[in-house]
Symmetry: C2
DNA sequence: CATCGAGTAAACCATATGGTTTATTATTCG
DNA sequence: CGAATAATAAACCATATGGTTTACTCGATG
């Protein structure tokens, strides 16, 4: 392949990355991820809504966005449901960025050696 | 602070992250970043449009989104302008993710030791 | 069973976004 | 100068998104 795995392998992968980045493009959703990451338990929806000072309906919508991205899951089938973080998607997003930066770094290195060559030529 | 720098320091920082993640939430813009990262030169707009099979107008719009995120800059004041990648914003996004994951990892470690404790209790 | 409460869905509105078509603004070059 | 061309702006449309208000479902509890 030779692309370091940067190209999405399937349409679904691309859609997934779309959803992950879109979910993270909103401050209150990022904050929600942090909020979840920082606790040791999985709080109930109402708990989250109260803690974050947001209406249950809006929380529901943001949760849906995070769910679509695979960043979060709702667990429990009773009347109370709990929100749990799922960082696999986060890792995927990070990997995309890392790989893009690796490309760029390689480019910088190439430029570096190019410049060195020029300087060597100049020195010579 | 104690938040590992995860909280955005200013409103502007948050807006910036919003813009970065929003820019990356679109496949063709991600591909554009990769395209730029993979070359050693800074192509002209028309070149990019041709290479990526997209209309100049649409490229302009996507470029505006990437510019707003600080991921890309246009250089040159002549009639031909070149597109250059700027990965600082990319690094910021990566750092946000890394820090969020660090939180989560800490949580996992805590859970781990909690479970160990339980097992120890059980064993005892 | 009646009700209360947690969670969700639906309707609705304002604004943002992706994309095309059309029009403008330069800037090079014959 | 005048035509061709790179780049961008504007107008416009369809759809998506964030957010509020209203309404529904369903399980627990008196």
């Amino acid at each position: 392949m030779g692309d370091g795995g940067l190209q999405a392998r399937t349409e679904g992968d691309a859609d997934r990355l779309d959803a992950v980045f879109a979910a993270l493009s909103h401050r209150s959703r990022r904050d929600l991820v942090v909020y979840l990451a920082a606790r040791t338990d999985s709080p109930r929806m109402s708990q989250v809504a109260a803690d974050r000072g947001v209406s249950p309906q809006l929380l529901n919508k943001h949760t849906a966005a995070l769910e679509k991205a695979g960043l979060v899951r709702r667990v429990g089938d009773g009347r109370e449901r709990r929100l749990v973080l799922d960082t696999m998607a986060l890792i995927e997003a990070q990997q995309w960025i890392v790989r893009a930066r690796e490309y760029w770094t390689a480019r910088l290195d190439a430029l570096d050696s190019y410049i060195s060559t020029m300087e060597d030529d100049h020195d010579a």
